[in-house]
Symmetry: none
Subunit: 133 residues, 4 copies
């Protein structure tokens, strides 16, 4: 199994922090490894306390299914094929802000960001993911 290193995970966190400062937000940023387990985390001063758990759940959700969290949310609505999948795995978060992390095309983990609008959360997470490409 290809796996993310601590050095890579910290680079993802720093890239996300840099983008968050550029956007003017206060974020929680979580990186999980290929096994879905927490590898690195940072919370900016003044960031929502409730987003600690959400950022980690976004990262885990993205790795659990190897897709962006928002893509799962499109399938989990009432009447959708994955309705209420959020109650599984101790709680999933399926709105944007979670993105799989890849090295040479292989998923090695995921990043989850929470602390602003879901649009900003996704932008900041994407900046983190781009740091690994």
């Amino acid at each position: 199994m290809n796996d993310i290193s601590l050095e890579q995970a910290q680079a993802v966190v720093e890239a996300s922090l840099a983008k968050s400062r550029e956007v003017g937000t206060a974020m929680n940023i979580a990186v999980v490894d290929a096994g879905g387990n927490l590898k690195a985390f940072g919370r900016q001063d003044g960031a929502w306390i409730g987003s600690i758990d959400i950022s980690q759940k976004k990262a885990r959700t993205a790795r659990f299914f190897d897709m962006n969290t928002g893509d799962i949310g499109a399938l989990s609505q009432p009447g959708g094929p994955l309705y209420n999948i959020e109650v599984s795995n101790g709680g999933l978060i399926t709105f944007p802000g979670g993105i799989p992390l890849k090295v040479d095309g292989a998923v090695v983990g995921a990043v989850g960001v929470s602390g602003s609008t879901v649009e900003n959360d996704h932008i900041v997470a994407q900046a983190g993911a781009d740091a690994l490409q």
Copy 2:
């Protein structure tokens, strides 16, 4: 980080209790501090037992995101940007009745009220929040 004192938290509980008696309801009233941890609590005689947990979750939810719980609920509906956010943080309550507490413009905690209609819950919580201004 500014934090609420016990004296302030008890004043919030008493103001909410006074409003609840005026409205004719039986409420659970919870106050959490800046860290989201319980600071003061009171349950009126005959109030719903199931609202002990809901009032505390409302207070925590309001502090976790520094906004009224009802505002989060407006975003967490099916098709909304925060759909099913309620499964995070060990359970969030996103209908009205939770309000951040501020002193000199800074959030120092939150109050959560549960035991009647959500309209009454919000009115009683607001009376508590107003006691700090």
Copy 3:
């Protein structure tokens, strides 16, 4: 079922707070009703955050078995008849600081105190319990 009123529960909290100030400690004080459900709570400024849960568990433990928590702890040691009873009921606390509350000889709830040595916790809880006699 005889049950404690909010007025009585708040009197227990205030009597415990007064004793805590006299002893020079910073306490968490919880009162549960006859059903074992939280009725009133207060945390002094600077009191241990970890004692929020412990004070409530002490109060519940005392009501669950209608005896002082320390008496249960004497029975739950290795080799004792109630060994590791602490893992039941979502977690019991069996060291001193939890005392049943009685009115006219009938148990109407319990008080739990945590924040100092177990000796001080018990003294402050007893002051609360005495407020009801």
Copy 4:
């Protein structure tokens, strides 16, 4: 309430990582803020997965009671005054490796380290704590 900044929390993590490399261990390092909520985290490559939770519980436990986790463990043994306190607060860890973080004498959070012997865990946590003095 004084609180730790992200910059300070990351300095604690880096100081602990440096000490861990010096000692030759693979550690999980968690920092919580004054409210007991996760602020920064890093896991070295090859570190025990089971220590993710333990490092965080050590940090929380140290902040919950403002003392080293090992000091609590000395009191929670069979026959001790805090026997089985570990079942509270969703699980406490009371062996060494958790240390309160202070700035100018005030507790602003705590660090928890897990991944080796408890002696090594404590040494690595202490190096992190020393980074703030």
